[in-house]
């Protein structure tokens, strides 16, 4: 472990220790602010309660990521192939992100119901934008001389896309995907807050209503671990796919 990682780990340990000492020293009630040791304990002890909800949220997030990819990749390609289309679609793309997801969530629940569909769509709406923008930027950043070389070699657009643009844009794509998966939990959890029968967002609302603040924090811990896990998984795949870097 290098010194930057040791430094970060040290800072986190110090902050957790201060939090723990503050809770115990000030004798704060658990329903106001539980100490980190209690949160960790609840996260483990209540794993059988949290686990199924986490699985539901994870499925929504993964499905949201897949849906976002299914939309973002073709969209980036067509916008790259037809710059006029990019100019036409750009305002709608920006508008889709300018509207707070909290505003859209109730509508999606009304339209798609309390099941997973509304949460998947919510996650996808949040994820697809960074992927589309990053991938498009990657395509556009392709070396001018390489583009010229492909033209001179007689390559058509689809050949250039497969052999040049796509591999060239992969690091940008993964950068966008990492941002996407980092915020994917937001879409799913907000959807569950608005209306759901399962999921970590649903469990948080239930625990909050019962003043089980330690359980709320434990769920947040699970969400953080899921987010970190997804982020690391994307990083691992990137390392495999973009091994030539």
């Amino acid at each position: 472990m290098g010194w930057p990682k040791l430094f970060v780990a040290g800072v986190i340990m110090v902050l957790l220790a201060l939090w723990e000492l503050a809770c115990r020293g000030l004798d704060l009630p658990v329903y106001i602010l539980p100490p980190p040791s209690r949160i960790a304990l609840v996260a483990v002890v209540k794993a059988r309660l949290i686990g199924p909800h986490a699985l539901a949220t994870a499925m929504e997030i993964v499905a949201g990521i897949l849906l976002a990819l299914a939309v973002a990749i073709p969209l980036a390609i067509v916008m790259f192939a037809w710059p006029a289309l990019e100019r036409a679609l750009a305002p709608f793309l920006v508008a889709s992100q300018a509207v707070p997801v909290f505003a859209v969530a109730p509508l999606l629940v009304v339209w798609l119901g309390y099941g997973m569909a509304s949460k998947i769509l919510m996650a996808a709406v949040i994820i697809f934008f960074p992927i589309t923008v990053s991938l498009l930027a990657g395509f556009k950043s392709c070396d001018r001389d390489l583009r010229l070389l492909f033209e001179l070699m007689g390559g058509n657009f689809f050949q250039a896309l497969r052999l040049l643009y796509w591999p060239w844009a992969l690091p940008h794509f993964f950068a966008g995907l990492k941002v996407g998966v980092s915020v994917a939990t937001i879409g799913a959890v907000i959807g569950e807050w608005v209306g759901a029968q399962q999921g970590l967002g649903y469990l948080m609302i239930q625990a909050n209503a019962r003043l089980q603040v330690d359980l709320v924090f434990a769920v947040i811990l699970w969400l953080s671990v899921m987010g970190l896990g997804l982020w690391s998984l994307v990083g691992w795949i990137e390392g495999r796919v973009v091994a030539w870097r």
Partner: protein, 249 residues
Amino acid sequence: MLTVADLTKHFDAAPVLDGFSFTLPRNGFTVLIGPSGCGKTTLFDVLTGVVPKDGGTIRWNGRELGHLGTVAAYMQQKDLLLPWLTLAENALLPASLRREKHMAAARERVKSLFARLGLAGFEDHRPATVSGGMRQRCALVRTLMFDRELTLLDEPLSALDAITRRSLQSLLLMLQRDFRRTLLMITHDVEEALLLADRVLVVSAAPMRIIQDLALPTQKPRRPDNPALIALKETVLARLEGELDHGVA
């Protein structure tokens, strides 16, 4: 034969090419040399169709073409190898892109060219794992795999160290002799021009025009310490310095 007549290109009303004309005989090795910024790269951009010409004609073997993009192979100072492909895959790109029916034969050809250019055993290496000289030799194989008689070389050796450069100069001579290519090369190196070319076109500052058309003896390889070559080098350098002074004045 390549015939370029009255080629014109302006950028923001400033003429870079203004009625530029020249001819290249088949299987010849012609080098274009001139001061920086005189428009040599613009000439290649116009010839390859990267930028449209404002006027003039380009004829290849009697046929008038808008540009040479479909009939010329092109090699640059940068090797332009794709880092995600192996050296052999990079060299095979022209054959892959034209969907050659006999890819096995193309692979064999690449293998044989790799052996000839000292790249045998490195077919499966990625560009990042080999030296700059090896990458440039691989780029040379790829240029040959275009299977086009006319080859445009835009300072292909200028980024290399002196030893690698010398070895690649020999390879260029060998390739011209054995593969019967018509070569047009841009370089800033007068000695390189005089060692390799059958003909050297010394050009002026922009708007570019030919100020000296030197036909060189056919005997190759030439030695850089040849007194006649040294005298010629001084003459060309004096012309180029004169152009620079003219540009500064």
